[in-house]
């Protein structure tokens, strides 16, 4: 039984014939280089993923703040059309929250020390069918286009999110 078992172990039979050589230094260096390249590639891939994700959070916050700006303008518009219509076209204005009310101010608004929020008003035009058109038509003094912008610094640059909506005095 023992002989049969050993006869099925080719490694044992060939053991003495192997001229085993260790790795040369050059082989080790090459293998190390490949391993290092793989490590760097993995790290770079992860860094790219992390970079993309780290841009996501401020972008979402900026979107919510932009959306809030549009909602606040609805509130402001309901307090009086003249509050919006008296703002010169293209002039940057800002929001101020007292804790119970929102108002429009000329003082820049900075949220969490990072997000700069402002808004501008612009006139809107309508065609003969009374549809709003981006070019041509006649200016409708009872319609205004508001654009809320939120900008924030990220990785040495400035990113921004803008939301626009029309407001009516009807």
């Amino acid at each position: 039984m023992k002989e049969r078992f050993l006869s099925h172990r080719p490694a044992c039979r060939n053991f003495n014939s192997v001229k085993t050589r260790g790795m040369s230094l050059a082989e080790v260096v090459v293998a190390s280089g490949i391993a290092a390249l793989m490590l760097v590639s993995i790290a770079q891939a992860f860094a790219a993923y992390e970079n993309a994700q780290s841009r996501q959070s401020p972008a979402i916050k900026a979107q919510l703040l932009s959306e809030e700006g549009i909602e606040v303008l609805h509130l402001v518009r309901n307090t009086g059309w003249n509050v919006l219509s008296s703002i010169p076209a293209g002039t940057k204005k800002y929001f101020y929250f007292s804790g119970t009310t929102w108002s429009v101010t000329t003082t820049p608004e900075i949220i969490d020390g990072v997000f700069y929020r402002s808004f501008t008003m612009a006139s809107a035009s309508r065609n003969s069918s009374f549809n709003i058109v981006s070019s041509g038509g006649m200016v409708d003094p009872q319609t205004l286009l508001a654009t809320v912008s939120v900008s924030y610094p990220i990785y040495g640059a400035t990113s921004s999110v803008s939301y626009s909506d029309y407001f009516f005095n009807y």
Partner: protein, 174 residues
């Protein structure tokens, strides 16, 4: 057995060089794994926070906009943990529902007429601060929501603040 003598062994300098190279590789590998692991946890936490914020604000925004009005008697404003109660559906009669949003074990929970409906956020994140602020302008009601969301829920390593305001469309004149 004769051939064994022909096996070329490593010399001592070679072994020293190999061991040194492998040590450097092992050290770099360990450091990379540690850094990547920590960074991955942070990134994963941020992803969970973002998903929770979107989920919370999407649902809360829709509910507030579609509400009949804000039920101030059952709400807790300007403090955390806040409670927001809104009237849903008909303002009178049997179809009227008082829907509440409040914090329960770090998650925003919803109840209809006192019966718990479920959570707005996953178990992976925890809402550490929830403040509702009621804004009334002429006849219009609006609610500002201020939240701080952290993740992972059991041992937070990332935390973000989120803000948004929603106007109750039923109270909006234009």
């Amino acid at each position: 057995m004769k051939n064994i003598s022909k096996i070329k062994a490593f010399s001592l300098p070679e072994i020293i060089v190999y061991v040194a190279i492998f040590s450097v590789i092992l050290l770099a590998l360990t450091q990379t794994v540690v850094v990547v692991s920590k960074s991955f946890e942070l990134t994963r936490g941020e992803r969970v926070i973002d998903a929770s914020a979107l989920s919370e604000y999407d649902r809360l925004g829709r509910e507030i906009r579609n509400a009949t009005n804000v039920n101030t008697a059952n709400s807790v404003f300007n403090a955390s943990p806040g409670i927001l109660a809104i009237t849903v559906g008909s303002s009178v009669g049997a179809s009227q529902i008082i829907r509440k949003f409040y914090l329960a074990n770090g998650k925003i929970e919803v109840s209809d007429n006192g019966v718990v409906q479920g959570d707005l956020t996953s178990d992976e994140a925890t809402t550490t601060s929830l403040v509702f602020r009621l804004i009334t302008a002429t006849s219009t009601q609006a609610v500002r929501i201020e939240t701080t969301i952290a993740a992972p829920a059991n041992a937070p390593i990332a935390s973000e603040n989120f803000y948004d305001t929603f106007v109750v469309r039923n109270t909006y004149e234009h």
